[in-house]
């Protein structure tokens, strides 16, 4: 049975065990990079640079992780802060008026469509969707990651989904 995150963290702190930390990075890299790709609207290079910063910050501050919260939630919080800091340095441009990102004749949604549609959302809507879906977080945990009230998170999720629907899904009359 593989060691838990808590056991690996304890090894890093007690024995300065770099292999234990490498296991933690390997275990969480996909989720952290995936979250950052959504936050950066599909900019894979920027997302990976930020993800690297996230794990270096985690290495430096691992002693401050409280075992009560999941390590993944703590990492997402660092990722969110890294992205927010990046966005302050280079503010994202206001998205243009929504344009459908796919034709109505294609019945299958794919992830490239989603990435392009996410890029057209407001940053707060994109962030709410990014942390709420696919990261195995409750609404409370997602709100904690973003540092906002749960009600605000839910509002942004609903608004974001409505805009995505307009961008991605065929209008009802087109399917008739």
């Amino acid at each position: 049975m593989p060691p838990s995150d808590t056991e690996l963290v304890a090894r890093v702190l007690a024995e300065d065990d770099r292999r234990a930390f490498a296991e933690l990075v390997h275990r969480h890299q996909s989720a952290v990079r995936g979250l950052l790709r959504r936050l950066t609207a599909g900019d894979a290079a920027l997302a990976d640079d930020l993800a690297q910063q996230v794990f270096i910050t985690a290495w430096k501050k691992l002693g401050s992780w409280r075992g009560g919260a999941r390590l993944s939630t703590w990492l997402y919080r660092i990722a969110w802060n890294a992205w927010a800091s990046q966005a302050r340095r280079a503010p994202p441009v206001e998205p243009p008026p929504p344009e459908p990102v796919r034709g109505t004749d294609d019945a299958v949604l794919d992830r490239r469509d989603l990435t392009r549609a996410l890029a057209q959302l407001r940053p707060e809507e994109r962030a709410a969707l990014a942390v709420t879906y696919g990261q195995d977080l409750t609404h409370e945990e997602a709100a904690e990651v973003l540092g906002c009230p749960v009600g605000t998170l839910k509002t942004n999720v609903l608004r974001g989904k409505e805009r995505l629907r307009l961008l991605l899904l065929p209008a009802p009359e087109a399917t008739a």
Binding site: R18, R33, A51, I56, L109, L114
Partner: protein, 115 residues
């Protein structure tokens, strides 16, 4: 209950292969903080010097004992402060230096007091 295809799409992120990412992170990690170094030799020499100057040559044995005690005390201070989010080595060294100088000065002053 209506099924929302958006929920499927949003909730199913493609797992990203590591593709060297972990190695890249590990190569960029800074070194762990090391415990504070033992007292600098010049400081060890300074402590008995201060006491000896204050009390005269007769107190040299006492001065050496004081210096040894300080070295042990400050040597134990580093590991206690350094791990997991403690101050940087430079901070620990500065603290150790300040503590040693203060203790040496206090010791010299106490011993120099006329009885």
């Amino acid at each position: 209950m209506n099924h929302d295809p958006l929920d499927d799409l949003l909730g199913d992120p493609t797992p990203l292969p590591d593709a060297g990412f972990t190695a890249r992170v590990m190569s960029a990690l800074p070194r762990r903080r090391s415990p504070a170094p033992p007292l600098e030799p010049w400081l060890l020499a300074l402590v008995p010097g201060l006491v000896t100057v204050a009390l005269g040559p007769d107190a040299s044995a006492l001065a050496r004992s004081l210096a040894d005690g300080l070295a042990g005390l400050v040597g134990g201070l580093g590991p206690a402060l350094a791990p997991g989010g403690g101050p940087q080595p430079g901070t620990v060294a500065a603290l150790a230096t300040a503590a040693a100088l203060a203790a040496a000065a206090l010791g010299a002053w106490l011993l120099a007091e006329p009885t």
